[in-house]
Symmetry: D2
Subunit: 339 residues, 4 copies
Amino acid sequence: MIRVAVVGAAGFIGGELLRLLIGHPEVEVTAAVSSRFAGKRVDGVHPNLRSATDLLFCSVDDVDEYDAVFLATPHGAAMTQIDRWIGHTKQVIDLTGDFRLDDTEVFQRYYGTRHAAPHLLGEFVPGIPELHRERLRGADLISVPGCMAVAGVLSLHPIRDLIGPDVRLDARTGSSGSGATAGEGNLHAFRSGAMRVFAPTAHRHEAEIARHVGVRVTMTATGVEAVRGVQTICHVTPKPGVDGKEVRRAYRERYRDEPFVRLVAQQRGLYRYPEPKILSGSNFCDVGFAFDEDTGRLTTIAALDNLVKGGAGNAVQCLNIRMGWPETLGLSFPGLHPA
Amino acid sequence: MIRVAVVGAAGFIGGELLRLLIGHPEVEVTAAVSSRFAGKRVDGVHPNLRSATDLLFCSVDDVDEYDAVFLATPHGAAMTQIDRWIGHTKQVIDLTGDFRLDDTEVFQRYYGTRHAAPHLLGEFVPGIPELHRERLRGADLISVPGCMAVAGVLSLHPIRDLIGPDVRLDARTGSSGSGATAGEGNLHAFRSGAMRVFAPTAHRHEAEIARHVGVRVTMTATGVEAVRGVQTICHVTPKPGVDGKEVRRAYRERYRDEPFVRLVAQQRGLYRYPEPKILSGSNFCDVGFAFDEDTGRLTTIAALDNLVKGGAGNAVQCLNIRMGWPETLGLSFPGLHPA
Amino acid sequence: MIRVAVVGAAGFIGGELLRLLIGHPEVEVTAAVSSRFAGKRVDGVHPNLRSATDLLFCSVDDVDEYDAVFLATPHGAAMTQIDRWIGHTKQVIDLTGDFRLDDTEVFQRYYGTRHAAPHLLGEFVPGIPELHRERLRGADLISVPGCMAVAGVLSLHPIRDLIGPDVRLDARTGSSGSGATAGEGNLHAFRSGAMRVFAPTAHRHEAEIARHVGVRVTMTATGVEAVRGVQTICHVTPKPGVDGKEVRRAYRERYRDEPFVRLVAQQRGLYRYPEPKILSGSNFCDVGFAFDEDTGRLTTIAALDNLVKGGAGNAVQCLNIRMGWPETLGLSFPGLHPA
Amino acid sequence: MIRVAVVGAAGFIGGELLRLLIGHPEVEVTAAVSSRFAGKRVDGVHPNLRSATDLLFCSVDDVDEYDAVFLATPHGAAMTQIDRWIGHTKQVIDLTGDFRLDDTEVFQRYYGTRHAAPHLLGEFVPGIPELHRERLRGADLISVPGCMAVAGVLSLHPIRDLIGPDVRLDARTGSSGSGATAGEGNLHAFRSGAMRVFAPTAHRHEAEIARHVGVRVTMTATGVEAVRGVQTICHVTPKPGVDGKEVRRAYRERYRDEPFVRLVAQQRGLYRYPEPKILSGSNFCDVGFAFDEDTGRLTTIAALDNLVKGGAGNAVQCLNIRMGWPETLGLSFPGLHPA
């Protein structure tokens, strides 16, 4: 049993971390940090945890004993307070955007601010088990990537040598991606049933995909009706001579042994391409593709739950790897159908 | 052509008034009052009005010439500022809760505050054409009832002599009923797909129904997934000897000539009971019922668009009556199916 | 490890049984019976089970070895084929409506057909752990109640001595309750965002509630926008002298030690009354109430996932009790928030 | 007043034609043809038309007097029965896919069948007022384009000289696009909240866009949660030297006088890009774009109601042009907000 603290525990990612960590057999949650809710019951904010925990939120100064800390604070807070955490724990798993890029210039372009701890940018191991499993085993600092970035990376990385360098990525996301703070943008009457193009170009996650896959990505992000769920569509151009079989083989070989990536390759049926709807609560990222032999164009599709494989679940998977535990520990929920 | 001002024009009811009044052949909208948005384009807030109007919002002090004013402000603002309006216009149509009850004590119980203009309570004619058409023809002060109250009143009034005095009313409502101000309560991630019992007892609208129908009403209100739409289910006990035919006849006779109340009385089909979904944007209130001959229990059902027949449309219908225009003028949109 | 067969495994309840039983540490699923899909992969119909199982559907004649059978067939099929199952297994858990009532006359009134095995009606123990835990320990024949019946029973049973004999029950349900067979009634364009009163009176589940609670129930059922989820609102009249504290005490004492019933009794917050939205996939039934001291009326509210506590999860809980296993085995998923 | 017949009147496009034509001041609907519902009331199938019409559906043989016919039958029926209609009326407006392409080979590739009336392919004027207004004034045969094609064409045509020849088009659509016939694909439990990639490549509408704009289009179509609404995202590459201003000017000049195309070009706000949600029931197509000066990539966005500007409304607009009536006659509904 290790003791963990969750900072930013009242948010959506924080709540999902609590759900997974409270149900994790090797973990004890010793602190759920929320300055706003300090002293209040955790299940008052996260009602799905009623009868699962009697924990109270605490303030950051009340955290004393823990072996690992998960940072689920707003972007910017992690990099300014990182010294506090590094000095007091063996293990920092950051779920903010602060340490996802390794280039200060790119960071500044996408986040619009200077990085507050540039010397640490290279120290964080990207929390992508499928790409960095070995490095994660010894990592004390882990940076979990953005939700749409995970989907994009996992759908492009296996085929990066088979395609041209330009990728047009179309991402759709549910409303939980914009967080638990109420505002006009996530007012139900406006957001319900929407197809809201909120980032036609230059979404932050495109920089992560470019970093990890080594392609040029132009990304459009649209909010559609869903609470959870991200889907990415990548429009790519295969290299001459590449056919559908080769693409399939590349995915299959790459993900055969991955516990949380599934190649969806049915010939027919409503679910023959990745669909976020059936992944809510699960840690799977489903990937698939369509190869148009006539036009020689390739479309790849990926889906995941933005709060799980796109956040808290991925973080727990990283912890499992880091600790040498079975990688699926505490992450066995398969998702619901219908849902 | 008369000139009208809409106060509280940036809200949901205000926007719906603008949609209807801009499309109304006898009306010119001379002022759309919003302190928050004064100087901004109306279609910036209400994007459905793009290309329909170039109007700018103005502040309350900019309103000079108008023949009628619609008050769609937050509850409480109308009664404190009523003198300003009465002195400057022939016609006040109030869509707030301020003048819906005629008893200061009942008002205080339901609104939790003292009435600021008790002397005017009796002066406002209730904006229910089906009950008060004659009085409305000469009314300078009109108070449009609450959305759920309209549904409840129209489904109970025709049969009030056929039923016992106790009514249990179950109301369901879309999210637009809680207004355009963002808050935790209407955050999409929480409100989407909800069945939220927000008023298990003592909803304000029950007092209006009691007033107009002369029954004791105990009301439960639940927010369900929809942006627009209200449905009321009334559980009533018919008097001895009353049967289904008599109930049907009472509705039929009462609403035969009403332009905006339809008795829905099909034997089968998905739409054999009133369904708000097909009423969005329309001024209809559909009413229906089921009589269980075995148990002698009667259930009445009503549906409407809370922003139209439950608000702005009802107000325009009252204006039409007051001005002697055809009652359906500007209110001809029939609703969509499917939708 | 026991071996179990699921009959009707391609339906929604069947799929949910498979999800729970495949994840259950003491159970091996040896047969997933579906005449329509025999020979096809289970995860082709239930895509959430991809990578969880390689099972194929089989026809009913292929089932040979099993210790328990779950019947999730259409209503009517269980009672006509019951002999086949009783002769070949120790344990029958029926999730259809066939053995939910113990009175052939009441059965005929609500199901519109004669009972095919009336001699067995009294043999089935109702699958309601909260009422019949002791009997379930030795039960070879178990009949799991209807989804809305579970919610109604659990919200009324603890207070049945505190209330008058007449209950008006308002039930709302998601679309999965109408099953996996496509028809006009569950066409997305018609069902989406609906408030469809599909049973204004005489829903079958009211007979079950009456049986188990000993009250007269008049029930109205409405389909609202959700895939999973049932909520019941009971309008009841407390006996003279009964107050809110007594009601609360009755619930608290009754459910203090129940693993899957939670009394929701917060003073404030969006989730202060039971909300199905946060229960998807979980086996909880949340119950709550509001007591209007002014009018002396009592409203009780209950919520659950119709496919879990209202079906498959309840069935697994019964199996756990029958086998002497921990009652929560395989049922630990707490539900998601937000969702 | 002209007399019109609607064939395929029980479908979604047929119903929308009826709604618009019944409300049209210059049109009398003399026949609503549906073989399945012949003899039944129109408002039994289209409940939004209650109190708007007493029309009964008729069979095709009952149609005798009419000046114009609208064909809203399943694809394939129009081309095989076209002689019947041409011989008996002055005006045929076809809303099926049968006469949308002018090349039999392309037709066969996309529709998988031989064309039954190839000699007429060149006779039909495309029902796109913005491209073919003059030809429509004298057109006796009009073919209304596919819903996603309209959006794609209107967002690409004004800038076709400013961009490279390759377009990646990402289309999202509501469930009404798949029609009124129930099937597994539009079962609510599966379709609700979905992000279903149903055509990753080679959707039929891409051929229409290619035809009208003169570009190569590779299209991906996804069903998202909505009943009505289509949105297209086009990823295009501007020619060297083209900047955002030039793009804006091209749209502005082109659509300045169009009654039903709006350039949405706000700097901020939730609705700064085209959003189908606010267009339900209206005949507008909103277009917009984002030009990423850093990467030199251009993204265009268009939105419309698939049943109106993407079908019935567009057809009525064509009729208005053909008859010399004001182009907006019967098409004035502006859409709702919020909705």
